[in-house]
């Protein structure tokens, strides 16, 4: 189980980096979204992945090793909210860039870098 999750996180990171290296705006957006998901999934997994064990302790303090840590899950919620906000901003920004600069190639966005 843990091996599969590690593999999924790895695939998510690889594909996000691959997509961000492409020239198209749309692939950049997908890459950024995948990067956000990969990060969040990474943190979520760090709390431990357990089956049928809600993190509610009453007398079962000795079973504390068997249940997942709920704090990373809470952190994940905060991170999801923030990263979705930023992702929406990126989508709107790229749409505006597409309208104003009239290009869909990231390599054309080089006027601020050139030496005049």
């Amino acid at each position: 189980m843990n091996f599969i999750i590690a593999l999924i996180i790895g695939i998510l990171f690889t594909s996000s980096v691959f997509l961000m290296f492409q020239k198209s705006f749309f692939k950049l957006i997908i890459g950024v979204i995948l990067f956000g998901y990969a990060t969040i999934f990474f943190i979520f997994t760090l709390g431990g992945v357990t089956k049928d064990a809600p993190p509610l302790l009453s007398n079962a303090v000795d079973k504390i090793q068997d249940i997942a840590d709920p704090l990373p899950q809470a952190l994940t919620l905060t991170a999801i909210v923030i990263s979705i906000g930023v992702q929406l901003f990126i989508i709107v920004l790229l749409k505006k860039v597409h309208e104003d600069v009239e290009t869909e190639d990231l390599d054309d966005l080089n006027t601020t870098d050139s030496i005049q």
Binding site: M20, L28, V32, F35, G36, A38, T39, I40, F42, I43, L46, G47, D69, L71, P72, L75, T78, A79, I82, S83, G85, V86, Q87, F89, I90, L93, L94, K96, V97, D100, V101, L106, L109, T111, T112, D113, I115, Q116
Partner: protein
């Protein structure tokens, strides 16, 4: 002093300012007045905070009265309190400057509320004592800065913002993963608790791995080599008020996080981590200044200088002696004020000529002696000419480098100082000394500048006076930086106070 919640006062002031100006969304003049009032109040609150911290060594607040390692802790030591005060000085200057610089259409779209909430993020990052809370404050700051950088929708602004936004998003991802690894290994997010657990933790290589993630996260935010490419692409594009604020403050929040993390948390293997930081510091200085030498635009030269100056601060951290860190802190204070002021002056030049391309500028020395005086003081201070403030910072850093027998980095830093002076003389020669090129008209004369754009000069004069004070009476600032550095190098006090033991 009366018993007030000094620690949280600056945050309250900024948050109230933000909410109050949201109520006047359609009346930008009211927002402008509120911006001015609340930035003055913020300066007052930050001054009170510094005095209170100086008297009590450290101020600690447990939010919601949750006991220490479980709730969120706010901690202000001298280092954070100093930076809060400097950020308040800059904010007041920028708000004064923006009155006659930022266009009405931008003010109508919420320039002042955004500025206040961004400062709230900056101030919160300085004051928090919890690593996840630090991430949240960083995001508050970043999201506000994303909007500020595209406000007005210029073509150049949009292009620069793409690079800035996407690299910031990636850096937040790295930061989050570092936090996750650290939590997994130690089971805590409180900085003081982490500082206690990391040195005795059995998995030392795990700590170094999480340090790498934090290096990537903060490195992008602080614009270290080789992660700085977004900075010169995006900082010169927005209106000068925004550029100056970002140039002065935002990268320094990254440097603050570096100094906090690599003095309090990751000191388990300083030979590896700080040795690596020293190499990166040298490369950052060198390549930053090479970029500045190559550029031909006033604002871009200044943007590349930010990168090379970040190298000096990281060099102080990497040398890791008492005086080196004190030098880094003094250098931060000097740099924030001087660099913002230089950006403000480049804005005045742009108002005079309508652009900031060096080859098409000229004649400022003849027609605008007052602006020239302001520029000279700041530029020579940045290059480190005695007796101006940059000299004291560089002197302390070079001296502690020699004492630690790191001769090569001292050599690099002195050579970079020379190249900084060279690129400043390039601006001096083209914009100030030479005659006005043929076919170029100035849009303002000196009396018109004094009559119509006097707020620009007031703001710049305010920062110049601060620079001169820091240059001619460095004792107070040096004493504070030295005490702050002592506190940073002795984490036991921090741990004790923050955990209420």
């Amino acid at each position: 002093m009366p018993d007030l919640p000094y620690l949280i006062l600056p945050l309250w002031v900024l948050l109230f300012g933000f909410i109050a100006s949201l109520f006047f969304w359609k009346y930008w003049k009211v927002q402008q007045a509120l911006g001015l009032i609340f930035s003055a109040l913020y300066l007052l609150a930050a001054g009170l905070l510094l005095v209170a911290v100086y008297q009590n060594d450290m101020l600690v607040l447990q939010i919601g009265n949750w006991p220490a390692p479980y709730g969120i802790t706010l901690v202000a030591d001298l280092f954070s309190a100093m930076l809060v005060l400097i950020s308040a000085i800059i904010t007041l200057a920028i708000v004064l400057y923006s009155i006659q610089d930022v266009s009405q259409s931008r003010k109508k779209k919420g320039f002042y509320p955004l500025l206040l909430i961004m400062l709230c993020g900056v101030c919160g990052s300085f004051l928090t004592g919890d690593i996840f809370n630090l991430y949240v404050w960083f995001e508050v700051m970043l999201v506000a800065s994303f909007v500020l950088i595209v406000l007005g929708n210029d073509k150049a602004q949009l292009e620069g913002a793409v690079k800035y936004v996407i690299l910031s998003f990636i850096s937040s991802g790295f930061l989050l993963m570092g936090i996750g690894i650290l939590y997994r290994l130690t089971g805590t997010l409180n900085m003081a608790d982490l500082a206690m657990k990391i040195p005795s933790h059995p998995n030392q290589s795990g700590m170094t791995i999480s340090a790498v993630f934090f290096f990537m996260g903060f490195g992008i935010k602080a614009a270290l080599f080789p992660l700085f490419s977004w900075l010169p692409a995006s900082y010169p594009t927005p209106p000068i008020s925004v550029s100056a604020l970002m140039a002065g403050l935002l990268t320094k929040v990254g440097v603050y996080a570096f100094i906090r993390f690599f003095t309090l948390l990751f000191v388990h293997n300083t030979a590896l981590t700080h040795g690596f930081l020293l190499i990166v510091a040298g490369l950052t200085m060198f390549f930053g200044v090479l970029g500045a030498v190559a550029q031909n635009d006033f604002k871009k030269v200044l943007s590349f200088h930010i990168v090379s100056q970040i190298g000096y601060m990281i060099m102080g951290l990497a040398l890791f002696t008492k005086w080196a860190i004190a030098g880094a802190i003094f250098y931060m204070a000097h740099h924030i004020i001087v660099k913002s002021n230089l950006f403000l002056i480049s804005g005045i030049v742009k108002h005079i000529n309508g652009h900031s391309l060096l080859i098409r500028l000229g004649g400022l020395y003849r027609h605008f002696p007052f602006v020239t005086l302001l520029f000279t003081i700041s530029a020579f201070s940045l290059a480190g000419i005695p007796p101006l403030s940059g000299f004291w910072g560089k002197f302390i850093l070079a001296k502690s480098g020699l004492e630690s027998e790191q001769y090569f980095i001292v050599f690099v830093s002195l050579m970079v100082g020379l190249l900084t002076l060279f690129s400043m003389t390039k601006i001096w020669k083209h914009a100030f000394w030479s005659n006005t090129p043929e076919g170029e008209d100035m849009q303002l004369t000196q009396p018109q500048l004094f009559k119509n754009k006097y707020m620009l000069l007031v703001a710049s004069l305010f920062l110049t006076v601060c620079t001169l004070w820091l240059s001619l009476y460095p004792d107070l600032a040096l004493m504070l930086s030295q005490k702050a550095s002592e506190q940073l190098l002795d984490p036991q006090v921090y741990i004790k106070k923050a955990l209420n033991q």
